[in-house]
Subunit: 314 residues, 2 copies
């Protein structure tokens, strides 16, 4: 008999990741496509359908269903309406995928998909109070309290990335200034590096690369090779995020904070700076009792989106 | 038959309020004593015992039990250990009151007492997600999510007053700098007024009063009479608190935020400034959907502490 997998999809502003995930949370195949290359939703679905069918056929797997994590994803009606994605208005994404795949389809907020992954198969198993921070193009946040995802009064809790940490600070895509995600995210890391190229005089290979081509991965690599601008960039990012997390601890006191996403893998300079700044800014009640952990998943949201399928089929 | 009341006690850094509260949440008598005038816990208990016995005898009421709301109050073992109160170390307050009153005694964190009052008898009845902010000597905060008080991993959630809003800002009793409660609390209001007396040149009756004698009530009254320093003080306080609350909304998205405590009654200048600053700083998702409300209680914590007694007797 063929092994069953669920397709877990993590739709992000830059990348969309498609994973084939077993009921045990194991990712048997993963593929990444550029979200912005699909201005038409039909083409986007067609591409994912092709990937799902080809990859599962090649591995002799059968498909049990589709789980989709997407910014503003609404589990109740299977739609989303996200300003950072190519498609405008309310998109009935569950209905559209269901029509093409002829399989059960489930939709969830991207950050909550990450939470489900960590809770079902990752480091948060057995925890009742924890937080996942996803550092991608923006900063996503999923909060679990008393063992339950925090949805808030109307489903829009967890917008930690849009807490204002520097009044009058960097312009944010949300129309305001100084939001945490303008500093602590892949985009924020890039903006900090550019700012430091202007304010500092250290020599750096980054000076030879146009703004548009600089990425957070490149900065992490440069830091690993000792580039002072890149090291200062990751330290500064860590300090901003560490303070914000210390404040978050004072409000909800989670057991652990998991960091996910590309920028979370920006190496020791970054991770040390986050933990140092967090500990320095913690109220005495929490000092030494909490630090951030890197998530076990390269993409926890695909695993969590797939978990929705397995939960429904139980 | 005599009507039954519970004694609800709200122990604060400056004042301790004792209320006689019916099972329906009505306060039949209230008295306020200065906490710092009782360096010995025995004298403190003796005074409250006298108040409870005298007041209940005068109104022909019988006492059903004692509920105590106190900073760091631990419901599990009936103790507290608070740095802003006159008594040092772990105080077995439930046992001490039980011995003197010979009645059932219940202890809870002061902010959570306020939450219980608002939930049991106030504006939060029927709400599943809300926040109470208590503006007294410090800033207390009780958070309810999915209908449950948020305790956090070790019982120390809700320290919103100790989130750092201005890195390197005002010195706080907790040993750090820039905590929200150094700006948004009765003490914070006083500190802002003093700062404005230095930075501004407006004439003000406050210039004739020594630092030690200025209080937030006096400032609220001066603002009501058009004093520009007092008006600027309340506006600034409102702006700091409004931004912090807008950030809190982004994290947990409550249905409502209730303001309690003396400073919450600092009048329209203050309340308008809080709501304006909150709305200005809200992410578009929440704009126009949430504002702060004044609690119905002059002291919600006494009512909430008494509710513990009634819940236990049910």
């Amino acid at each position: 008999m063929q092994e069953q997998v669920a397709i877990g999809i993590d739709i992000g502003g830059t990348n969309t990741v498609i994973g084939l995930i077993t009921a045990g949370g194991k990712c048997l195949a993963e593929e990444c496509i550029k979200t912005e290359e699909y201005p038409l939703m039909e083409d986007f679905i067609e591409r994912i359908h092709a990937i799902g069918r080809e990859r599962s056929a090649a591995l002799n797997l059968s498909l049990a269903g589709v789980g989709i994590g997407v910014p503003t994803g609404n589990s109740d009606n299977g739609t989303f309406n996200a300003s950072n994605l190519p498609w405008r208005g309310v998109i009935p994404v569950a209905a559209l995928f269901r029509e093409r795949f002829n399989l059960p389809v489930f939709v969830v907020n991207d950050a909550k998909a990450a939470v489900l992954g960590e809770m079902s198969y990752g480091g948060a198993r057995g925890m009742k109070d924890f937080v996942i921070i996803t550092l991608g193009t923006g900063l996503g946040c999923g909060i679990v309290i008393n063992g339950e995802l925090v949805h808030g009064h109307d489903g829009f809790a967890g917008e930690l990335g849009h807490t204002i940490v520097t009044p009058g600070g960097r312009a944010c895509g949300c129309g305001r200034r100084g939001c945490l995600e303008t500093y602590a995210s892949a985009t924020g890391i890039k903006r900090t590096a550019i700012e430091l190229l202007a304010t500092e005089i250290d020599d750096s290979p980054l000076r030879k690369i146009p703004f548009a081509d600089i990425g957070s991965k490149m900065i992490a690599e440069a830091a690993g090779q000792g580039d002072p601008i890149a090291i200062k960039t990751l330290r500064y990012t860590g300090e901003v995020l560490g303070l914000a997390l210390a404040n978050l601890v004072a409000i909800i006191r989670p057991e652990a904070i998991f960091l996910q996403g590309g920028a979370a893998r920006a190496g020791a300079h970054f991770h040390d700076a986050v933990n140092r700044a967090m500990d320095e800014n913690l109220l005495f009640l929490y000092k030494g009792k909490i630090s951030t952990r890197c998530s076990a998943f390269s993409n926890g949201a695909t695993v969590g989106a797939a978990a929705l399928v397995w939960r429904a089929l139980k």
